[in-house]
Symmetry: C2
Subunit: 335 residues, 2 copies
């Protein structure tokens, strides 16, 4: 592999000049620039990014920590992030945190040790305090889908409360009054926020959440099927179920079918997230859109702006969800 030195020799200039044309910041005369470019071409020169990083103390790499690499959700997020950075010539290092405190902390450590210029974190299990402490260290980071009051300027998140509200309001508008709720793990902030939105919608209709119609699931399909079982076992009547995400809604749909119920004839089901398979369930799932790819992209832009000084970039920190009505919700039959 050719080095900058050989290029400088061939072009008959100094190292510094070659470096300058590479980083075309300082003025170099057209004549020498061409000589250098030509020498590079001729040698098939490619700068050594490691050496560049060491000398400039900038690695041009961004660490991304997500809970999982698979699943319908994170893939979209990574897509948004990668596309943005790739266009900017930065590269993306990934790690999975598996929603466990130790693994998440470990992942952050791993990424930091890789000299990332910045981190994009989708963490669920580490404490706010841990993040606040982390913010005092040198590596800057943004948080995706998490609100830490002390770190508000680095949070990019969805208004989950609004989403929960919209889901339930949709059902209320369709005439439903006995609405069950299958929540996510309540230690997760987004699960709580969505539930709060649900409560707010109920309150607007002078209703309140019925404990017997509440089930705390795990954000996975099994949570939905178990939730449905539990709800049915409570023998409390309901005509609709709000699920805190699409996976659980899908689980509920499958379980309902296996138990001989028909959705939405027997009861309606709402999802949340609008992951791509929501369109392929039967019936097609009514849900709340989570613009996850756009949010991933925005996190990338935050980094470009804050860390790489691309000041012209605008960053939006709060995203609003919206309703996607499909076939799993029907009007309540008059009682």
């Amino acid at each position: 592999m050719a080095t900058i030195y050989q290029v400088s020799e061939l072009a008959g200039v100094s190292l510094a000049t070659v470096s300058r044309v590479m980083n075309n910041n300082v003025r170099v005369s057209e004549a020498t620039r061409n000589k250098v470019l030509q020498a590079m071409e001729q040698l098939g020169y490619r700068p050594n990014s490691i050496a560049q990083s060491l000398a400039s103390s900038r690695s041009n790499s961004i660490g991304i920590l997500v809970s999982e690499l698979h699943g319908p959700f994170y893939g979209e997020m990574l897509t948004g992030i990668e596309a943005e950075f790739r266009a900017a010539g930065k590269h993306v290092i990934i790690a999975a945190g598996h929603s466990e405190r130790a693994t998440e902390e470990d992942g952050i450590d791993f990424l930091r040790s890789r000299n990332c210029d910045a981190l994009i974190l989708h963490v669920e299990a580490v404490s706010d305090q841990f993040l606040v402490d982390l913010s005092k260290k040198e590596t800057p980071f943004v948080l995706l889908n998490r609100q830490v009051p002390a770190l508000a300027d680095r949070c990019i998140s969805l208004d989950n409360e609004l989403g929960g509200y919209l889901a339930t309001r949709h059902l209320l508008e369709q005439g439903h009054r006995n609405i069950a709720y299958i929540a996510g793990p309540m230690w997760k902030a987004d699960a709580r926020d969505r539930f709060h939105g649900h409560q707010r919608a109920l309150t607007e209709y002078q209703l309140s959440a019925d404990d017997a119609l509440f089930f705390e699931g795990d954000f996975r399909e099994t949570g939905g099927s178990k939730g449905l079982d539990a709800l049915l076992a409570s023998s409390r009547p309901f005509s609709a179920i709000v699920c805190a995400n699409d996976e659980m809604a899908s689980g509920a749909l499958t379980a309902a079918r296996e138990l001989g119920y028909e959705v939405p004839a027997d009861f309606s089901v709402m999802g949340f997230d609008n992951v791509n398979f929501a369109y392929y369930t039967y019936p097609k799932l009514s849900t709340i859109n989570y613009p996850v790819s756009a949010m991933g992209q925005m996190a990338a832009r935050w980094v470009l702006k804050q860390v790489y000084q691309q000041s012209s970039i605008d960053v939006q920190q709060i995203f609003n969800p919206h309703l996607i009505p499909r076939d799993s919700v029907a009007a309540a039959t008059v009682t």
Copy 2:
């Protein structure tokens, strides 16, 4: 950030000694090792991986190029790869190729310029020749889900032909004789291989593929729905459809329902890949298992063995698919 120099000073030894204890390869006396370790601890020292890379000309990073970051398939693959490398202290840089020749070549270039020690490529659009040429350059790579004869020792792939065979044989065993086929894009090798397997199974039953019952799809849901339309339009009778992947099978299922058909009562549907949503379709999709996570992991092991000299590792290059019978296939009604 503390440097190795400060550690050496605090410990009262030379740089070289500190470096030795970090890479604990050369013998260092217990006494000095402890002094150094203690100094590191005290300073909260973390080696600068960039500097390590430059000095050792080894970046400990592996570039991964996949077609997409989202979708049920690649996520699984990345999970398998990341887990394996993370445990080995290597990190993973990702890029998307979007199944387009230019983007794939560009992505490879990008990864190479990042000084990756090795590449794991899931490429579909670049030519065999391009890969052969690439193999002559310094960066080693493995190919996932692709067979290039000249590069057989670096290919990790599924026996797609066998998978296609198993899918169709399953249908034949259930008594089906008029079997339609919705293929993937036939310029992709895996699509072709699966189809060849299909043909082989037919041949074993003294049947042959009927052109009127063949449709070339795009591996996406729309391919499945369009395929079903086309098949129906041909007015050739069939009692089963083999789809070359689960997405298309899911599309066919949805389209069938919308057209008033019932699966598997009116006709059976086979998928391929066993992506996770195959379990959540209605009816649950009978399919062929593609051990994609295991294969990703194996690609990582190939790298560990070939590039990082972990010679004790065993690598399996060809994986066998197997049948997952579920609810979308039923026995043919006697004619």
